[in-house]
Each structure stands twice: as C-alpha cells, then as structure tokens.
C-alpha cells in the first residue's frame, strides 16, 4: 500500500535508529522498533531498515528481540545477503542458558524462508532435538519439517528421520505430536509417517496426556493403522471409547471417524459408535459458535446418509432459531426433510410452514422446496399446506409452489387430480414459474377445465414475452393441449405457430415452431406418438423409505472440509475431496502398505485390467501360498452370495477368467469359496466368505479377502470390481 510520503517516514526512522543517543535510551529505541513493525503490519515497505534492525537484535529485552525477529522473518527472502548477517546473533542465542531464548531463536531462524539457509540451521536443530528443555525440543522438531520444506526436492536425511521416530517416546506430549507432524511433512512423498504396531499402541496409551488439538490429530494419524486381529481391534476400540464423548467436538468427531474405519468389518460396532456420538453431535449442532454449529449439522447430514432414523426423535433440535444465519437454516431444513417419519411429520410440516412466510424470499422458497420434497412421501398433508400458501398471493411464494407442483406431479402421479384442481385457481402465475405452469397445463390439460383460456392469455401476450424458454414451453404445451382438446385449441395454436414462424427473431423458438408445424402436418396420430410421453417418472413409485447408503461411502471424507463444502455449488469441490483423501475409491479399504498408491476411480481400472486363467493350480500349491501370503485387501460386498446353483456361479466366474478351486457345498453356514486368477504377471488368490462366525452381525453379506503374488494394487482393484460385477449380475438374475 503506497503511503503518501512513506519514503520520508522510512528515512526518518533510519535516522532515529542509527542515532547513538536513541540507541542509548532503551525505551525510546524500542518505541522506534515498535513503530517499524507497525508500519510493516500496515503494508508499508520498510525493508530498507534491515541493517539497523539487525543491529537492534543484539539486545537483552526479549520482547524487542521478538519484534526484530518478526521483522527479519518477513524480509529475509527479499534481502538474503543481509539476513545472513543476522544469523550469527541467532546462532549465539541458540546457545543461551535461558531455554526461552534458545527456543525463540531457533524457531525464528527456521522461519527464514530463503535458499541456502539449511547449512546454517541444521546444526542448531540437531542440537535442539537433544535439548533438555522440552520447549526447545518442540521448536526443533518442527524445525526439521521447516528445513525440509525449504528444500523439498533434496534427499531425506535418514538420521533426522530416525531421531524423530525416537522422539515419539519423548515425555513431553507436544513434542510427541510435533514429531508426528514433522515426519508427516518430511515423508510426504513416501506416504507420510508410518504407524506400526508399537507406535500405534504407544500413541493410544499417551492419548490421555495430550491436549485436544493433539488428540484430534493423533486420531487422524491412527487411521493408517490396521490392527492385526479382532482382539487387538476391540482393545483399541475400548481404549478410545471415552473419547467418543469428548468435550471437544473435533475430538469426538475424529474418534468417530476412526471407529468407523477400524470397525468397517463390524457393522454392529459402527452402529453403536454412531449411536454413542449422536449426543455430542447434537450438542455441537446447538453450540454457541455458529461455525461449529454448521460443521455439526454437516456431519449430521453425513451420518444420516446411512442411518436416517438416528435423529428422527430429535427433530426439534433442527428447528431454526430467529437469529441464525441462513446457511445454518438451509442445512437444518435439509436435515428436517431427511428425518421426517410418521410420528414427527405433522410437527415438522407445521414448523416448515412457518418458514414459508419468512421475509427472506430465498429462505421462504427453500422451505417450500423442503415441503415439496416431503410431499413425495406424505403427499396429502403437504398438498394442503402448499395450496394454503397460494392464498397468501405473494409472488415469490406462488412461484415456488407452482414449481413444486410440477415436480410433485412428475414424481407422484396419484397427486395429479388434487394439483390440477388447485392449479385451476391460480391463473395468473408470477414470473419464474410460467414454465412450470405451462408444463402442467399442457401435460394435464384434460383435467384442468380452464387450461385453454389460460393458455390463450399467454398466446395473446406473446409479443411482450421476453424469455425464449417460456415461448418454447408454450409451443410444446399448446401442441399437447391440441391433442387432447382440439376444438378449443386449434385456432390459437394456429396463431401461435404463425407468430413464431413469421415474426419471432429468436432462432431456437422459430425452429421449435417449425418442428411442431411439420409434425402436425404428418397427422394427429403421428404427433401424438411423438409428443406424449409418460405422465410421470417411470422409474419412481411412491417413495416409502430412503435408500440407506453403506457407511463406507462417506466415512473417508468424514471430519474433513468435504462435508462442509460438499453442498456448495463451487466448481472446486472436487479439489477438496481429492486434496488429501483417497476418497474416490473410498469403499475400498486398503492396508497401510498401500496408502501411498494414488488411487483412481474403480471405473477406469476396469477397462485396463485383463484377467487370464493360465495353467491350473493344484490344491496343495494354493493352500501353501494362501498360508504364506498376507491379506492385501478385505472388502464387504454389501450383498449376499448369489442364490443360483453353484455350477452356475462357477461357470459365470470362468467366463470372466476366474477359476474356482473349491467351495462349501449347498447352504452350509459359514459358506466359503476359494478362487484364483492371473493378471499381467501376478497371481491373485481370493476367498469368498459368508456368515463369518467371528462377526455375527453381518452374516448376510459376502466378504472377499484377496492375496496376491507379486503385489500389484492396480490388478487387485480390477479383479475386485470384475468379481463384484459378476456376483451382482448373478444376484439380479436369481431374484
């Protein structure tokens, strides 16, 4: 920000700072330094004072030191040669007897973002890692990460990495967490810090000592760890149990995410965890800070994707308060729509109805849209409300209601009669909803007695109509109307076509008119065949219940930015979900060895992978390999095994080049099958299991465990998706 006379100011400051009288008077000297920082904060370029400021760093006043360091960090990258002069002072401070000074100097030295810094800071950092004061160790550990970020492309220093891993056992909890953070940064290209069994157990035991920030982060790191046995898994879960109810929303949510991930093979445990966290989540939805409330609501929405019933009884928690910002109100309404059930529908609708008359038109329209969505299940009650709203004669309300009517008729044909009766009454529709009204008139003209007359009004006012979309809709609707009520419509349709063909300037409208004209020339029956389609969405019947998604669909983006911006209409949403998390193939649960593999969506792998049978495998070889190898991937299919005869299954698998080695005959439980196949140089072995006695809750679903030699994640993904496809097809066929 170019200040008027800023150069003067800098000169004056320079004079003052180099004045020996000022330097002698400590208070005055410090005041001038404060002034420099103040200008710097205001965006003024005071880099010309660098030399004088470096001199000021040799002081005993710690606050002054901090100010000077802040100054140097800001301008170091602009004046690297001068910054080198300051390094000596800083290095001297790194050996100060006071840990406070040591830490301060080290932290700031690491903050100098300029090339060639590494050689100066490496030695103090290594010394800092072994400092006896934890304050210095904390700084030094993060210093390692800073040093790495200065030269991101250099080789990783193995000794520092080892030292950091060793410091995970530090008595100071912040040092421990900083180590994790630093290792994560340094080893970013290799997939981040490795959490093996001893580290995981160590971290779990330290959880109680950590502050809430650290807890939340450690929980995120633990996502990488996969317990080796069910016993270990349940030990971990019971250790973490109390954190589900943590006072800090972010810890509770992070714990929930870990639970969902660890227990992905145990749906009963997942459901329990969700039930347990529902109270803290609800509390977050009522938090004092609106941002946290918003975050809470977004996460409730996620949970409801799998467990729509979980919050049904708490619907009153999602009623909007008067002073809440609109982004919260919108979310709450979305949730209310989702949690409606037979018990609460009356009260929810009554509440939503009161929002329809809100002063904010956006909010009112959103509330009407919400009622419209509920109407797809509870059409009668909602129709009454929507019809009642028309009586208010508010343009923005009427327009939203008519649009809802159109959707409703399309999705629930049984409400057609009632809607038509209502539409009869509202002939002069406001802007924005003309298209919807015309569609209704055209589609159901036979049931709306006044339809041709309303239509005529539009045709007569065509010259003043601006929107070409409305004109096109009018053309289509008039043709439809002509088919069911020719006598009343013929004349005006002629006028409409004449106008649109002869006088209309918009090419699209003219072309549509010509199309209609030529179509009518072919005869009425021909036109009827072309114009009239199904009157309602053929794929939908009355919605009785919402689809419940598997938890794995959303668990991987849980507790990230994803849920918060997911509903934003930003083109960048893809960036967020892809930024850190392997979300696209989220349902695949990968073992830690493979987390560094960049995942692509399962769709495109399907085409590239090809399986082959190759020479048959003997039972003995298979058994030996099966015992030697480790499970690389285990996945719950989400559906039971096909009910077809087993020969059919075998034949179907053979068709896609998967060989069946053995299976349990008939309907025995647990049911198992061993299969194998080859693909681009690797051998894939797999076990299909249904009715695992270790996990009684999921006996309905098929679990696939895959082993491979040599490892090729790409091939596994292809194999699993092919296998899934086959089994699903068989399932559909047999039912």
């Amino acid at each position: 920000m170019p200040y008027f006379g800023s150069e003067e100011m800098v000169k004056e400051l320079k004079r003052a700072l180099s004045n020996p009288n000022v330097q002698a008077d400590r208070l005055r000297y410090k005041n001038y330094i404060t002034k420099v920082i103040r200008y710097m904060t205001q965006g003024l370029d005071v880099s010309a004072l660098f030399m004088d400021m470096v001199k000021a760093s040799a002081t005993v006043d710690i606050a002054q030191k901090k100010l000077v360091y802040l100054y140097m960090c800001t301008y170091a990258s602009d004046k690297p040669d001068l910054a080198l002069l300051a390094i000596n002072t800083l290095r001297k401070d790194c050996a100060d007897p006071n840990p406070m000074v040591r830490g301060l100097a080290l932290r700031n030295m690491c903050n100098f973002r300029m090339p060639g810094m590494t050689e100066y800071i490496e030695q103090p950092i290594v010394a800092g890692l072994r400092d006896k004061a934890s304050y210095v160790r904390r700084v030094a550990v993060l210093g390692c990460a800073k040093m790495h970020s200065l030269q991101p492309n250099t080789d990783i220093d193995g000794t520092i990495v080892n030292e950091l891993y060793a410091l995970l056992r530090d008595p100071d909890p912040v040092v421990v967490v900083n180590c994790l953070r630093a290792l994560e940064e340094i080893l970013k290209d290799e997939g981040g810090v490795v959490i093996n069994k001893p580290i995981a157990h160590h971290l779990l035991n330290r959880m109680k000592d950590l502050d809430s920030w650290a807890q939340s982060e450690v929980l995120t790191f633990l996502l990488r760890y996969r317990p080796r046995s069910d016993d270990e898994l349940f030990d971990i879960l019971s250790l973490l149990d109390s954190f589900l109810q943590s006072a800090h929303a972010h810890v509770a949510v992070a714990t929930l995410r870990l639970f969902l991930q660890l227990a992905s093979a145990h749906p009963a445990v997942q459901a329990d965890a969700l039930l347990c966290t529902s109270a803290p989540l609800l509390a977050t939805c009522g938090a004092a800070s609106r941002e946290l409330r918003f975050a809470g609501l977004c996460h409730v929405q996620q949970v409801m994707r799998s467990q729509p019933g979980l919050f049904g009884t708490h619907y009153k928690r999602f009623f909007c308060g008067y002073s809440e910002p609109t982004y919260i109100k919108f979310r709450k309404m979305e949730i209310l729509v989702e949690l409606v059930n037979d018990e609460n529908v009356a009260l929810v609708l009554e509440e939503l109805r009161s929002y329809c008359t809100d002063v904010s038109p956006e909010l009112a329209q959103a509330a009407i849209a919400a009622i419209g969505r509920i109407a797809q299940t509870y059409s009668e009650k909602c129709l009454d409300i929507l019809t009642g709203l028309l009586a208010l004669k508010q343009d923005h309300i009427t327009s939203a209601v008519i649009q809802m009517f159109r959707d409703l008729v399309w999705f629930c044909p049984q409400s057609t009669a009632a809607v038509c009766q209502t539409v009869e009454a509202c002939v002069d529709s406001p802007q924005d909803s003309e298209q919807a009204l015309l569609w209704l008139l055209g589609e159901h003209g036979d049931q709306i007695s006044s339809a041709p007359y309303v239509m005529e009004g539009y045709i007569d006012g065509l010259k003043t109509e601006l929107s070409s979309a409305v004109k096109m809709e009018l053309l289509t609707a008039s043709v439809k109307m002509f088919l069911c009520r020719p006598a009343e419509t013929q004349d005006m349709l002629g006028r409409l076509l004449h106008y649109c063909i002869e006088e209309e300037s918009d090419v699209c409208v003219r072309d549509r008119a010509l199309l209609c004209y030529r179509l009518l020339q072919r005869g009425v029956e021909e036109t009827r065949k072309v114009v009239t389609g199904p009157k309602s969405d053929p794929s939908m019947s009355v919605l009785t219940g919402r689809q419940e998604e598997p938890i794995s669909q959303w668990a991987s983006t849980f507790n990230t930015l994803g849920p918060l911006s997911g509903c934003d209409l930003c083109p960048q949403t893809a960036v967020i979900s892809a930024a850190d998390q392997p979300s696209s193939s989220a349902e695949k649960e990968l073992l830690p060895e493979s987390t560094d593999v960049t995942l692509s969506s399962p769709d495109d792998t399907e085409e590239e992978i090809s399986l082959s049978l190759g020479p048959p495998l003997s039972h003995e070889t298979f058994e030996k390999m099966w015992l030697d190898l480790e499970i690389l991937q285990r996945q719950t299919m989400g559906f039971p095994r096909p009910r077809t005869a087993l020969d059919t299954l075998q034949a179907a698998l053979q068709l896609v080049k998967i060989q069946t080695l053995a299976f349990t005959p008939g309907a025995t439980v647990p049911w198992k099958a061993y299969i194998y196949t080859r693909s681009t140089g690797t051998l894939i072995l797999a076990e299909l299991l249904q009715g695992d006695q270790h996990a009684p809750g999921i006996d309905e679903s098929l679990v696939v465990s895959v082993k491979q030699q040599p490892v090729n994640q790409h091939a596994i993904r292809g194999f699993v998706s092919i296998l899934k496809g086959v089994l699903q097809t068989l399932n559909v066929d047999s039912s």
């Binding site: 920082i37 103040r38 904060t41 005993v60 710690i62 606050a63 802040l70 840990p99 406070m100 000074v101 932290r107 004061a133 934890s134 304050y135 904390r138 700084v139 993060l142 800073k146 970020s149 967490v177 953070r181 809430s212 920030w213 650290a214 982060e217 006072a247 972010h250 949510v253 992070a254 109270a279 509390a283 009522g286 800070s289 941002e291 946290l292 918003f294 975050a295 809470g296 996460h299 009153k316 308060g321 008067y322 910002p325 982004y327 009554e350 509440e351 009161s354 008359t357 809100d358 002063v359 904010s360 956006e362 930015l561 918060l564 911006s565 934003d568 960048q572 949403t573 967020i576 930024a579």
Partner: protein, 423 residues
C-alpha cells in the same frame, strides 16, 4: 490441522495482523477473500468455508473483526474453528475485549501470542493461563530475570503450575444453569433444554486434590440411596483435570484444579420442565392507525424463589411511533433502534402474574417492506435455585501441607436462548 496462515481483518477486509506460518501460500491470497464474501452475501449464500482455487478460507467473525485461517489441505474443519475461537478466547483474556481497537493498541502482544499458540501451522500452547505466565504485556528485561518457560510446559499436570502460594485458601464454586426455550406462536413448547455448568474460582496453595460430590442419580443407584432426591445428568463433559477413569469407575469427580477461574464441568438436561417465565401476548395491528400490545407474564416457579432483572423484549413494527405504556409492575420503555418494547422488572417473585399494555401509533402511509416476525425474548436470573435440582453435597480439599480451606457454593439459574414466537 496445518493452517498455512492466520489473518485478522477489519470489517472492510483490511489486514490488521497476518502471520504466515507455513510459507506455502501467497500472502496476497487474502485479497480474494473479501470480494468473494461480498458476492456470497449478495447471493444469500454465505458459508463459513470460502474456496478460491485450491485455497480454503475458514473464517469466523468476532465483534468488528474477521479471523481467517487459510489452508491448502483438506483439514478437519471443526478443529480449525475451535482453534480460531480459542484464539479469540486467549485475546479476550489478555485485552478484556477483542475488537479492532484492542488489536491495534496491542499488536506487539498479539504477534507474541500468535508466535506461541501456533508453529508451522500446528497448535502449540493455547492455554491462556499458561501463556499469561510467560507472555506479559510489559517487556521483560533479562537482568530482572527473563521469563523462563513455566514448569507447566513440562509438568505432568499441564494445567497447574507448581509453587502457587496464597495466604487465605478458598474455593468458590458457581453452579449455573441456563434455560433454552423455544415456544411456537400457538403456545406449544418446541424446544426446552437446560445447559448447566460448574465454574470454579480456585485460590489454593500448592497442588491440592479436590473431590466433588453431587446428587448424581447414577452414583446414588450404585450406593443404594435411590430414595434421596437426585438428578440424571446427560452429556457430562469435564475439564481435562478431572480423572475420567475414576468417574467411569465409581462416579467420583476428583481433580487437581487449575489456578484461578475455570469451568470444571458442563452437562445437559433434556427433561421437559415447565417454562420458568411464561408469556402470553396479543399484538393487534390496525393498519394505518395503531398497534396495541398486551403482554401477560407469569412466573411458574416456587414462590420462595425470585427472578431478578427480568427483561422482556417485545417486537413492534419499525415504523411505529408515539408510545404509551401501562404496567402492573416494573417499567416499560421503547427502544427504537431495536424496534421493540423493553419491559424491565427488577424482582419477579414466583407464582405471580403481571401485565403490560402498550399502544403505538402507525403512519398512515404504509411501507411495502414485509416485516420479519420477530420473537419475544426474555432475560432473567434466579439466584439460589437450579431447575434440575442439582446439589453440591460436599467439596473436599486435600492438600499435602494440610491447610484448611473454605469452599463456597452458589447456585443460579438464568435465561439462555429464551424465545417465544409471535403471530
């Protein structure tokens, strides 16, 4: 969480304070923040996450300031918001009130604090009590003894320093319950909940061990005293000093308290209770001439308690004028800037009913703007009373040096978000 940078902006979006923690974002990115916000606000599409390219802005607003965290990573949003609010809390502790003025006046301390609470984008020491020990508003001279990192930084008990000494040892405990209420225009209770918390002010020497006994229903069931009056607490949350394992085992609340003021625990009660102060209102609007308001307030608690400083805020049309009031008790006044009548009652005993009538003139020319239906809000506090009936049965103070200490307990019930919708 890795926040790349944290900014404090004024309402116009001008940067007051900026701290670039990671150096992986361009500081000028912040210039994109305000324009996006303005546009979003116009579209009524504001959201606490603002995205520009690959940069995410997570922001909160506090008085006349924006606190913005920039991140490039897909971080845990709740954590970032919590951190920003923590920052507000720390600043407030230091400067009494956090606003543009106090930031400008204390920017040196602000920088010092921002240096300590976060490093390389990761939260470090955020406990304001500990920070207060080594970052003071006055500059330190090394000769006088520069501040050492407090022992708490390495202590096993991270929330209390060793070697605290007082001449008189006391503990003050406040049991505060706030009532949230939402009543529909038809008079049915839509939401009623009680949020309770126990606040401590500790003036104790050394490392004392405290044990708190409540009339907790679960505890009474364990010990077989089911007949005594007890309360069922939900969503109990404790300060980190409370030993959770002991609480889970035998419901004992034992802890080494932080020095000074702190919140020991919070809880929630979902049991529906009768609204403490019930309001019936009739607002009749005669277009072009006048508005007549009749409000009846009834206290629905026992007559031995008294609500103090009751303030009932009734909305009136913004174009109303020439008010006239009549009350059976207390004073009513018109607050034009809030477009409301404020009816203040100094003391409101239980089981009583009071009335207020107000009359306003309306201009003969009516404005087209639709008025929002604002709710009636009520503020009050009732001392020596808790809705839940929670009681502190004992507070034992066990100190190694064996000094005598006095515990003081106070109960208070107050209004939280207490709203009654109007027609």
């Amino acid at each position: 969480m890795a926040a790349s940078a944290i900014f404090i902006l004024d309402l116009k979006g001008k940067v007051l304070i900026c701290r670039n923690y990671m150096g992986n974002v361009n500081i000028n990115e912040i210039d994109n923040f305000m324009p996006i916000m303005m546009k979003r606000e116009e579209d009524a599409d504001l959201s606490p996450v603002v995205i520009h390219g690959s940069t995410h802005f997570l922001w909160i607003k506090h008085s006349n300031l924006y606190l913005v965290a920039i991140t490039k990573k897909n971080t845990n949003a709740a954590l970032v918001y919590s951190f920003l609010y923590k920052l507000v809390e720390v600043f407030t502790e230091y400067f009494k009130s956090l606003e543009e003025e106090s930031i400008r006046d204390n920017f040196v301390t602000v920088y010092e604090l921002m240096d300590e609470v976060m490093d390389f984008g990761f939260p470090q020491t955020t406990d304001s009590k500990i920070l207060l020990e080594y970052i003071t508003q006055r500059g330190h001279k090394l000769e006088v003894g520069a501040p050492r990192p407090p022992a708490t930084v390495t202590n096993a008990v991270s929330w209390r320093s060793e070697g605290i000494k007082y001449r008189k040892n006391e503990v003050f405990m406040d049991v505060i319950e706030s009532v949230n209420l939402l009543v529909s225009a038809t008079g049915s209770v839509l939401r009623s909940e009680i949020l309770g918390c126990i606040k401590l002010k500790v003036v104790l020497s050394g490392m004392p061990e405290l044990r708190l006994g409540l009339n907790d229903k679960v505890l009474f069931e364990i010990t077989g005293r089911e007949k005594s009056k007890s309360v069922e607490l939900e969503d109990v949350k404790f300060h980190q000093c409370v030993r959770l394992s002991r609480f889970e085992n035998d419901r004992t609340i034992s802890f080494i308290p932080p020095d000074g003021e702190s919140e020991l625990m919070s809880y929630r009660l979902n049991t529906t209770v009768k609204p403490l102060i019930w309001i019936e209102s009739v607002i009749e609007k005669f277009s072009h001439s006048r508005v007549e308001i009749k409000v009846k307030a009834r206290s629905q608690f026992k007559s031995r308690s008294t609500a103090n400083n009751v303030s009932i805020l009734v909305p009136v049309p913004s174009d109303a004028d020439s008010p006239k009031f009549k009350t059976t008790t207390g004073q009513a006044k018109w607050v034009p800037e809030k477009s409301a009548v404020e009816w203040n009652i100094k003391s409101f005993p239980g089981g009583k009913e009071f009335m207020m009538r107000a009359h306003f003139g309306l201009p003969s020319v009516e404005s087209d703007v639709l008025e929002a239906k604002r709710p009636i809000t009520v503020k009050f506090e009732i001392p020596y009373f808790t809705v839940s009936g929670i009681q502190v049965r004992y507070l034992k103070i066990i100190a190694k040096s064996g000094y005598q200490a006095l515990p003081w307990v106070r109960y208070i019930t107050q209004s939280g978000d207490y709203q009654l919708r109007t027609n």
